[in-house]
């Protein structure tokens, strides 16, 4: 490439010039102030030159005429008539380069390039893909210096951090995922690539986020269309160029630049299979709504308000170091920054004293200066937003401490700020604040610390500081976040899963865990590609059109006598709802008829409503903590007991199935037997999927725990009503979740009969709740419930869309079938594959550095 040669020549020339200057200057006199400053009357260490635009960077920018197009299909694409966007040096405001504001046509070109490339890339052998990723990693390594400079200027991140933290991590990701590419046929043998993945990047840590998303996507055989944040575009373009230079086939990685609207246009493109998004919660929410029902997979890495918890048993000085590093990193603009300080009351004063002293040592200035700790904010607007929150806090009576010492006189800088004496009700505590402003709260006990830490809609990461191991581990397990660092913060590695729960999003970056975002089971065909034509706002908002039971109607089951000889009426059979471990009448006080396969009424079932869903969710939450803490062995025993009790009713359940559906006796018995097998299958998994040790660069242990998701709402399909019900129920509860089951609307009886089995098998009340009724209405209720953590929906295309749409409220995880492709429940892959475990768990990385051995 030409620019490398030019760059080299230029840097040589410039070095020559600098040398001459030195000569003419003669011996360097030490200025009086240098000596005095060193004497330390006041002030600062040395910073005698402001950093210039480095020649290396200049050469690259100029080799492109400081004007960039999109990078599509392996080459620069510069369509005419587009508006442009100017990237500036965040510290000096100097012009760096212009890029394009793309439009729909550019998106189309990029997606079609990616779609074409996928035909080959997706079929490529694992080894070939591994080689490509390896070569890319090598090439990035060769240009680390340029990449880190550009990353720093592009995003305002400190050059020091870009160089020492981000770039090595980016390189490590490419190597790590070259490994996963190689191992796909072994480690991911039941999975296949999705197709074209859209990656939407945020403005903070753009390059690292890019590696997080692009590496696993490419490793698993997908092709990528990437859209960087509108304010940080350059590194993505450079990286795409470097990939092409390393021989990555054209179209495998495409970059289009533009404003937020372009991102929306990209996400809306019908040929996409997955959207991987990192950014704000609000944007994530609207993306969830926009992609609802389209069959595109979605992974969201959203905001965070990560608690930083310091106990009285902590090494306070080290905790201060950790906090400074964690929080003021990237001017507090990183989502994973520890932005909420929780201090045990007994050490709060001591800690704050240490923290204030250290804050006084922080240096704010040019992000290219290695000795700076904080750079500029994104813009003036952001500074005003921060300032207004701080002013508001002050008005509320909070104490504000600001380290003004080293603040440059101009530029969008904000001093490191500490706010104490605020309460959970304050706006600065509730809202995510993108700036170097730290909020501090106190707690009395570990229990309160956990409660405070969890009392936020976010759940990205947290750190726990204590020298007491039992305390550290228990708190780590109790926090509802995706990553916990013990006595450290912001430790990341390619081998470790990172990502949020609750409103911090879903899907993981890093580790094997992230691969699942970019694959589907081998047997699965991509569901419908067009969005259902549906008004999600109104769909299934009422209990249904079905008229309530009409007493005048003649189809009454009592006519079926229990003994035809004696002409006795049978005893009325009306199934109730089942929640909290007991049968309950529905809130609506009405029932629905269930017909057998000939159309005759077989029984009545309760017509559940949103109120019943509410009660069931409440019951489930009551049971959840205890159930999750139950030993795996006990959970397995309970599942085996369920199997034992179901076996006792084998014949009875089979005849029910026979009567209800049109299956023959043999098939009915087979379905019962398969259900028993399934119970055994999942009981076996009770103690075999708890997590792994992640082989990160940490000296210590980096563990991955697969924890329960929480309360899961499950809507069951009509096919094989008993088997599908068991197949969905068993993996969910064996992994410690509590469930609210909505049985098949047409064939609810096998599920409802099952509550007698549940009652006799020591299943604690509230772990399994069954609400019958209008499926789509009840599913909507579950999806809209803010305290349901996941919804699995197997029903119609419309219902799937509605569930995904409604899930945007608390950004719960969803698993829907888009009404397509009858899953063969009796098949082991389709009815009990790894997918089920993946959906039934969420992982948490816990980092535990080790070391105390010292010298002799």
């Amino acid at each position: 490439m030409d620019w490398i040669r030019q760059m080299w020549a230029k840097s040589q020339k410039e070095r020559g010039v600098a040398g001459e200057e030195e000569e003419t200057n003669g011996p360097r006199l030490i200025k009086e102030e240098a000596w005095n400053l060193c004497k330390g009357l006041e002030g600062d260490p040395p910073n005698d030159t402001s950093v210039q635009e480095p020649p290396l960077l200049k050469a690259w920018l100029e080799s492109h005429g400081r004007s960039f197009g999109h990078f599509v299909d392996g080459k620069w694409l510069k369509p005419g008539g587009r508006e442009t966007y100017a990237t500036k040096n965040p510290t000096t405001g100097e012009h760096l380069a212009t890029t394009l504001q793309g439009n729909g046509e550019d998106v189309k070109a990029a997606v079609s390039a990616a779609t074409n490339a996928f035909q080959i890339w997706g079929q490529q052998s694992a080894h070939v893909r591994a080689r490509h990723l390896y070569n890319v990693a090598r090439n990035i390594q060769k240009h680390q210096r340029l990449l880190s400079l550009l990353e720093s200027l592009d995003s305002g991140k400190l050059l020091r951090d870009a160089r020492d933290a981000d770039l090595p991590l980016v390189v490590r990701h490419f190597y790590h995922y070259a490994g996963w590419a190689q191992l796909m046929e072994v480690e991911m043998k039941d999975w296949k690539p999705l197709g074209v993945v859209a990656v939407l990047l945020p403005r903070n840590s753009p390059l690292l986020t890019l590696a997080w998303k692009v590496c696993p996507a490419l490793a698993m055989g997908n092709t990528v269309v990437l859209k960087p944040a509108s304010s940080t575009r350059l590194t993505a373009l450079l990286l795409a160029e470097l990939c092409a230079q390393a021989g990555l086939p054209p179209g495998v990685l495409n970059v289009v630049t533009g404003d937020q609207g372009l991102g929306e246009a990209l996400a809306a493109h019908s040929d996409l299979d997955q959207v991987a998004f990192a950014g704000s919660v609000e944007a994530g929410r609207s993306l969830r709504c926009a992609t609802a029902g389209t069959g595109k997979k979605l992974s969201l890495q959203l905001g965070g308000k990560s608690p930083f918890i310091v106990f009285d048993s902590a090494d306070l000085d080290s905790a201060v170091d950790g906090l400074v590093d964690a929080f003021w990193l990237n001017q507090g603009q990183a989502h994973n920054a520890g932005s909420q300080l929780l201090l045990q009351e007994s050490i709060a004063k001591d800690f704050i004293q240490r923290l204030k002293r250290r804050m006084g040592q922080l240096r704010v200035g040019d992000s290219l200066d290695k000795a700076m700790d904080l750079g500029a904010l994104a813009d003036e607007k952001q500074r005003d937003a921060i300032e207004s929150l701080v002013v508001e806090a002050r008005a509320e009576g909070a104490e504000i401490f600001q380290a003004w010492a080293a603040l440059p006189s101009s530029g969008p800088f904000y001093p490191p700020t500490l706010i104490t004496g605020v309460y959970t009700t304050s706006r600065c505590v509730r809202e995510e604040m993108f700036g170097p402003v730290l909020i501090s709260l106190t707690f009395r006990t570990a229990k309160e610390a956990v409660a405070l830490g969890n009392s936020t809609p976010y759940g990205l990461a947290a750190s726990v500081w204590t020298e007491t191991l039992p305390l550290a581990l228990e708190v780590a397990r109790s926090l509802q976040v995706g990553t916990v660092w013990i006595n450290g913060h912001n430790m990341l590695d390619a081998a470790s899963a990172f990502g949020g729960c609750k409103e911090s999003g879903y899907g993981r970056d890093g580790g094997k865990e992230s691969l699942y975002e970019y694959v589907r089971p081998k047997w699965e065909i991509r569901p419908c590609s067009s969005a259902a034509d549906l008004n999600c706002k109104t769909f299934a908002t009422s209990q249904g059109t079905e008229a309530p039971l009409n007493p005048g109607e003649k189809r009454v089951p009592h006519s079926v006598t229990s003994d035809p000889d004696r002409n006795f009426p049978s005893v009325d059979r009306t199934y109730k709802l089942y929640y909290g471990g007991a049968q309950k009448r529905p809130d609506s006080m009405s029932s629905r008829a269930v017909l057998d396969h000939t159309g005759k009424i077989l029984a009545y079932v309760a017509d559940g409503s949103i109120k019943d869903i509410r009660n069931a969710v409440e019951a489930a939450h009551k049971a959840a903590p205890g159930w999750a803490k139950q030993t795996a062995h006990t959970r397995a025993q309970i599942l085996y007991y369920l199997a034992e009790n179901l076996e006792l009713r084998r014949a009875e359940v089979a005849s029910q199935l026979e009567a209800l559906t049109s299956v023959g006796r043999e098939d009915a018995l087979r379905e019962v037997d398969l259900s028993l097998q399934r119970l055994f299958h999942w009981a076996a998994y009770s103690d075999k999927y708890g997590g792994t040790v992640q082989e990160t660069v940490l000296y210590g242990a980096s563990l991955l725990f697969r924890e329960p998701v929480g309360v899961v709402g499950i809507t069951c399909p009509d096919e094989q009503p008993l088997l599908s019900f068991i197949s969905l129920l068993a993996p969910a509860i064996i992994r410690g979740n509590c469930v609210v089951m909505v049985p098949s609307e047409r064939y609810p009886l096998p599920a409802l009969d099952f509550y007698q089995v549940l009652d006799t098998s020591d299943v604690p009340g509230g772990v399994v709740n069954i609400i019958s009724g209008n499926q789509d209405h009840l599913s909507r209720g579950l999806a809209e419930h803010q305290d349901v953590q996941a919804v699995w929906y197997f029903g119609s295309k419309e219902g799937s869309a509605a569930v995904e749409w409604a899930s945007s409220g608390n950004l719960k995880r969803t698993w829907v079938n888009y009404g397509a492709g009858r899953r063969c429940w009796s098949d082991l892959q389709e009815g009990a594959g790894e997918e089920f475990l993946y959906q039934a768990t969420q992982c948490k990385s816990v980092w535990m550095p080790m070391g105390d051995i010292f010298a002799n």
Partner: protein
């Protein structure tokens, strides 16, 4: 000397609360070494500052009056005069902070410095240096003799046995007696950190040494397997800060052993600046125990002035 640390009662409950997380300390120690680089004029100024904080040391079995004498003259003229002139620093009275020798060589050093008409203090190691494994009585006597011979500063070593067996009261009492034996002389307490087993012990020993009235705490004798490392220094200066906050006494810090390059010296200065502040950046509160460090600093200064790298023979040896 500074106001002087009067010492306090032994506070065992303070010791019991000490927590040191080693991995976190290592991380921080690593950062300090890369995040506060100084360049050009500033670097030269910092290096000269480092020179004024050096306890120029010779602690060898083969020390004789002649090499001790040579060391003393080097202490008086640590940087070649013409180099200082080039930087306009020749009239700043730049000498090392002290000359540090074995007790038997104190008299030689005092004589040499007097002959050179120079008031640089002589520091003597004492108390069974380096192991401290001699009777308390002889250790105390050693201090008294060194003081009589004219040592203005005494570098005592602590009894590591007492740390490893947790006898903090006895350790406190011993150091107290050292303090009394020193009389007017300035006392630096060597912890021998490489033999204390953990950073927590380093912190606790630092506290006990300060409670017992040490003017300085010093990392090591230079004879242990692990000497002055940045993590150890970090732990000790934090103890110093804590002690200052709690008692108002400023105790000095002296890393010693294994500090050989100008770059090392800059790291120690920036550690002090970051953790204790500018106030500690002067010979009254900060010393670098070293023998070969000075030569490297002088070479860096030579380069700063001339733009060329010096051969060792370009500069007068110590």
């Amino acid at each position: 000397m500074a106001a002087g640390n009067q010492g306090t009662e032994l506070d065992l409950s303070w010791l019991a609360r000490v927590r040191v997380n080693q991995p976190a300390v290592l991380r921080r120690a690593e950062q300090i070494q890369t995040r506060r680089a100084v360049k050009k004029n500033w670097q030269a100024a910092w290096l000269l500052r480092a020179v004024t904080c050096i306890d120029l040391t010779t602690l060898s079995g083969d020390d004789t009056p002649s090499n001790v004498c040579r060391l003393c003259y080097k202490a008086k003229h640590p940087i070649r005069e013409d180099l200082l002139q080039a930087m306009n620093m020749h009239d700043k009275g730049i000498t090392t902070a002290a000359v540090c020798v074995y007790p038997a060589r104190v008299a030689d050093a005092v004589k040499a410095l007097r002959a050179a008409n120079c008031d640089i203090p002589v520091a003597s190691v004492a108390t069974g240096f380096p192991a401290g494994q001699t009777a308390l009585k002889t250790r105390l006597e050693e201090i008294r003799i060194a003081v009589e011979d004219g040592a203005k500063e005494i570098d005592v070593v602590i009894n590591r046995t007492l740390v490893l067996t947790g006898q903090w009261e006895v350790l406190f009492e011993e150091i107290r007696q050292f303090r009394q034996a020193c009389g007017e002389a300035h006392m630096k307490t060597i912890l021998g950190t490489g033999e204390l087993g953990s950073l927590t012990n380093v912190y606790k020993a630092s506290l006990v040494a300060m409670m017992a009235g040490s003017d300085f705490i010093k990392t090591s004798t230079g004879k242990e397997a692990v000497n002055a490392t940045v993590p150890v220094g970090l732990v000790m200066v934090r103890a110093i800060r804590d002690f200052f906050w709690r008692t108002g006494y400023k105790v000095g810090f002296k890393p010693a052993g294994g500090i050989r390059t100008a770059k090392d010296a800059l790291v120690w200065l920036s550690l002090i600046k970051e953790e204790l502040g500018d106030e500690w950046l002067k010979p009254e509160l900060f010393r670098l125990g070293a023998s070969s460090l000075l030569a490297d600093i002088e070479r860096q200064i030579y380069h700063h002035v001339t733009g060329r790298y010096a051969a060792y023979h370009d500069l007068p040896m110590a």
